[in-house]
Amino acid sequence: MSSKPYIREIPKSSWFFRQPRYMRYMAREVTSFFIGAFTLLLVVGLKRLAQGPDAFQSFLDALRGPLGVLFCLVALVAAIYHSTSWFNVTPQAMPIQRGEEFVPGKLIVGAHYAIWAVVSLIVLIMGI
């Protein structure tokens, strides 16, 4: 046993640059920010709606402006990345055993995508 083991410091703010898999993890975490921001935007929209038709109309106009569209697009891409990165790891967190065998992971992931598609469809239909 040596009297002075050498300790390698981990860079506290840049550790995730060390490996692509850490970058992927950070991407998953950072994209959640956009989901939060979009939710806040919806809350602001509700508030504008409560203030009356004029306020709501100006909110909608702002959303239709280039900045509004850009934000919605970025938020959409981020939300899709975030959601799919979680869907893809669900078999690890929720394995389902039937008898001796485990249900194939692809099926569990597929079920998530299927439910996602159905819910999106319902929301779209209700929106029209």
């Binding site: 083991p5 050498y6 300790i7 506290k12 898999r21 001796e100």
Partner: protein, 248 residues
């Protein structure tokens, strides 16, 4: 005929008696393509530099002692084939562990944490030997079999950024092993283990980076085990707080 290749093997050296910090030393090693990185290290030790220190034993991915960072990736030296690499291979001690000497790391922290989760069967009730064995169906065995494949190589600790940043974290292998026994139909020790693994330094320090499962040479999937422990611990919490009348 096996093809021979001259490999530049760059090894991180550290001698606690003379060095203030580690430094790289490069050896030129004639490697056969069927070799693994551990063979190249053995070649150096036997032919070029007997002072090189590193751990290994079985040379067949069973003992778990030959974990190194190979080109920055946690790998078993005896499972990292030379033909998968270019002519330059860099070998360092496992990340996140203090360096004892050269490629040898200080592993006491891991051993203490591993022992703290009581990684052994705690039978539900004492049974005299004459009463026979504890029986288990194949389905009950399958529930935890993959976790029994862990060889304690600590690659998962070297991959886990959370362990690197928060050294108190119990870590992937220890919690997976607790999960292995908790899933065992013969075991009754879950409550004792939960105290350790459901704590803040336990499973809640994990942010599911998933790196542990990607590097695990035995496909134990520690990340999966940890998420399952989170789910089970959350259910415990709800039961305890919302349904105090229900027994766990």
């Amino acid at each position: 005929m096996s093809e021979e290749r001259q490999i530049q093997l760059e090894v991180l050296r550290y001698n606690p008696e003379t060095d203030l910090e580690p430094r790289f030393q490069t050896y030129s090693v004639p490697c056969v393509n069927e070799w693994v990185v551990l063979d190249a290290l053995n070649y150096v030790k036997e032919n070029l530099d007997p002072t090189l220190s590193y751990r290994w034993s079985c040379h067949m991915a069973v003992c778990g002692s030959c974990g190194y960072m190979i080109n920055g990736e946690p790998k078993l030296g005896c499972k990292a084939f030379i033909h998968e690499y270019g002519d330059h291979i860099r070998v360092e001690p496992l990340a996140h562990f203090p360096i004892e000497r050269d490629l040898v790391t200080v592993v006491e922290d891991f051993i203490t944490k591993f022992s703290s989760v009581k990684p052994y069967l705690i039978p539900k009730e004492d049974k005299p030997i004459s009463a026979g064995e504890f029986k288990q169906t194949p389905a009950q065995l399958m529930k935890f079999k993959q976790y029994t494949l862990c060889i304690n190589c600590m690659l998962c600790y070297a991959a886990c950024p959370q362990y690197g940043l928060v050294p108190e974290f119990l870590g992937p292998a220890a919690i997976s092993m607790a999960h292995r026994y908790n899933q065992d139909s013969r075991d009754g020790g879950r409550d004792q283990r939960q105290e350790v693994i459901a704590s803040h330094e336990g499973v809640w320090e994990c942010s599911f980076v998933g790196a542990c499962s990607e590097v695990c040479p035995k496909h134990v999937d520690p990340a999966g085990a940890l998420q399952q422990v989170k789910v089970a611990s959350t259910i415990d919490w709800y039961k305890e707080h919302l349904m105090p009348w229900s027994k766990k």
